[in-house]
């Protein structure tokens, strides 16, 4: 879809076969809604609430030609590059974090021209999703002005009709599919998130199709008891899957802290064997496990419990 094409975006939403009110399904059936060439929006931020279980299933189903968009892209982006599943990345930052240095995978893919990296400032990308969430073609902003980022993307400048000042316009980004991991949802798709909201609520409104994994599927009653905690309404959601630990070894606020030791090992393998290190990792952690519990078991006895303890030390649990 052309950037900012709110008309086509709304038409797609209206033309979409309505999901049944009951949306509980499996990872396999949820991920099957992703098609080759789709533009995906990945929820959470960096290594927080990344929908890793959904992303792994999309790789297992062998999708190709995908565009990945995310506020800050973590190593899940490297997975899709190594698997030749992604040809374009739209983000404001790509890596894991200071201690792990520059991503060799990203460097090789982008410097060789094999993968396109479309860079936006963090706010600009957030506003692109928000413009779409609002059903608009663009949002104005004061950021990015004067920078070289204005020249390499689809941002434009306009003269403000009220003040005569120069404004930056960022075009709405309407993803084909949003992939989200939340704390709790009911079987209809009403979602609640604790702690950092990141950009998930905007993604759910922006995308044509919304796939959600939840740490827990709760009775409708629990949602209705705290309606002011609901951030995504059922009518925006197409599939819900219960996946405890669905973001592990990334963090899920209040429930488990990211496993930095695991990141170390992941990066060590890349330093040693480059992209082969990622492919070996995918074999072990993505393609071989026959279920998410089997995947979690690979982290060793009580790994999730250990990270849960660390999480409780940092933030209150409800």
């Amino acid at each position: 879809m052309k950037a900012g094409d709110f008309v086509e975006a709304r038409r797609r939403l209206e033309a979409k076969p309505r999901a049944s009110r009951e949306k509980l399904t499996t990872l396999g059936d949820a991920a099957a809604q992703v098609k080759d060439g789709d533009v995906l929006a990945i929820g959470g931020c960096l290594y927080s609430r990344t929908p890793l279980a959904l992303l792994a299933e999309i790789l297992r189903q062998g999708r190709r030609g995908l565009t990945l968009s995310r506020n800050l892209m973590c190593y899940e982006g490297e997975w899709f590059i190594a698997a030749n599943a992604a040809e374009r990345v739209v983000t404001s930052w790509f890596g894991i974090g200071l201690p792990w240095g520059l991503s060799r995978i990203v460097r090789e893919a982008v410097e060789s021209g094999r993968v396109r990296y479309e860079e936006w400032s963090h706010l600009a990308l957030g506003l692109r999703y928000r413009a779409a969430a609002m059903g608009l073609p663009f949002l104005p902003t004061l950021t990015m002005l004067g920078s070289d980022l204005m020249a390499v993307g689809e941002a434009r400048t306009m003269t403000c009709p009220y003040t005569g000042e120069t404004l930056c316009l960022v075009p709405a980004l309407y993803p084909d599919v949003a992939l989200l991991h939340v704390h709790r949802a009911d079987r209809y798709g009403n979602c609640q998130i604790d702690g950092y909201p990141h950009m998930d609520a905007d993604l759910a409104r922006a995308a044509t199709t919304v796939l959600v994994t939840a740490e827990a599927i709760v009775p409708e009653e629990e949602i209705r008891r705290h309606p002011d905690r609901t951030v995504i309404p059922a009518f925006a959601v197409d599939a819900v899957v219960e996946v405890p630990g669905g973001a592990f070894p990334h963090e899920c606020y209040g429930l488990y802290e990211a496993d930095f030791g695991h990141f170390d090992a992941y990066v060590e393998a890349i330093k040693a064997r480059g992209v082969e290190g990622v492919r070996d990792y995918l074999d072990r952690f993505v393609y071989r496990p026959r279920s998410h519990p089997e995947y979690l078991a690979l982290f060793g006895e009580g790994a999730l419990e250990r990270q849960a303890r660390l999480a409780r030390e940092l933030v209150p649990t409800r």
């Binding site: 927080s48 706010l123 004061l142 002005l145």
Partner: protein, 252 residues
């Protein structure tokens, strides 16, 4: 008293926050500086990070590695979401922003995107993240960086984050009406910008650094006024706070 260059940098960055009420800070040295300032020269400081945390505290020894993880949500006052936290800056609520980059040039422009050409980069760097937004939207911006010749280039390969662009009123002409890059804090000294030309100049030397060191580590002609002052060395108290926060020296 001996200290590492990184410790010196953190102390000098912290002092830039004296009396400040809110700072938009990234992880690493900037966050350490902000926490130090809160315990010394800026008791009313509210730390804001781009992951969407307002007023967090940090657990010594458990410093956050990203701005969007639980370690920097600890005892926060608010968790507003990423887009909304930047909009606080766009509205004008945030006093000071700390930024850095792989390259900084004589007009305070920063590059964290690419070395070489954007479309065919020699080195693809991680990207802007919030750096462009912080430098564009905060009231006052302080660049915090190690002082190395490879970083201090005449002109950045790519303007990820606009300082004064080509100098003069170029920034204002581009539509950036608010905020400005006020200072560049390095481990060698303090730099600011000529009011007219908006070119970088030496404002103070840090203890142990000579003008010659600064000039040697700067890849462009730096204005050096006569009689440049020397900063007060880090105090034992300042260093003690820093070392207590980062005992494993993950960032120091």
């Amino acid at each position: 008293m001996s200290y590492a260059a990184t410790e010196l940098l953190a102390v000098m960055a912290a002092r830039e926050l004296a009396g400040v009420r809110s700072v938009f800070a990234g992880v690493g040295i900037p966050l350490l500086a902000a926490v130090l300032a809160r315990q010394t020269c800026a008791p009313e400081l509210t730390i804001v990070v781009e992951g969407g945390s307002v007023g967090p505290e940090v657990v010594p020894g458990r410093l956050p590695i990203s701005t969007n993880e639980m370690r920097i949500a600890h005892r926060a006052e608010m968790l507003p979401g990423i887009t909304d936290v930047f909009l606080f800056a766009q509205r004008g609520f945030l006093d000071v922003g700390f930024v850095g980059g792989a390259q900084v040039d004589q007009h305070g422009n920063l590059n964290s995107s690419v070395l070489g050409d954007y479309h065919h980069p020699k080195v693809r760097l991680p990207g802007s993240g919030g750096a462009n937004d912080i430098i564009s939207l905060c009231r006052r911006v302080v660049v915090v960086t190690m002082h190395e010749r490879r970083r201090f280039v005449p002109r950045v390969d790519f303007v990820t984050s606009p300082g004064f662009l080509d100098g003069g009123d170029a920034r204002r002409k581009a539509g950036l009406l608010f905020g400005r890059v006020a200072r560049v804090v390095t481990h060698l000294g303090l730099l600011d910008f000529d009011e007219e030309t908006k070119r970088m100049r030496l404002a103070a030397l840090h203890p142990g650094a000579a003008v010659a060191d600064v000039v040697a580590q700067t890849g462009f002609e730096l204005a050096v006024p006569a009689g440049v002052a020397t900063s007060e060395p880090p105090s034992g108290a300042e260093l003690a706070v820093l070392r207590g926060l980062d005992p494993d020296r993950r960032f120091l």
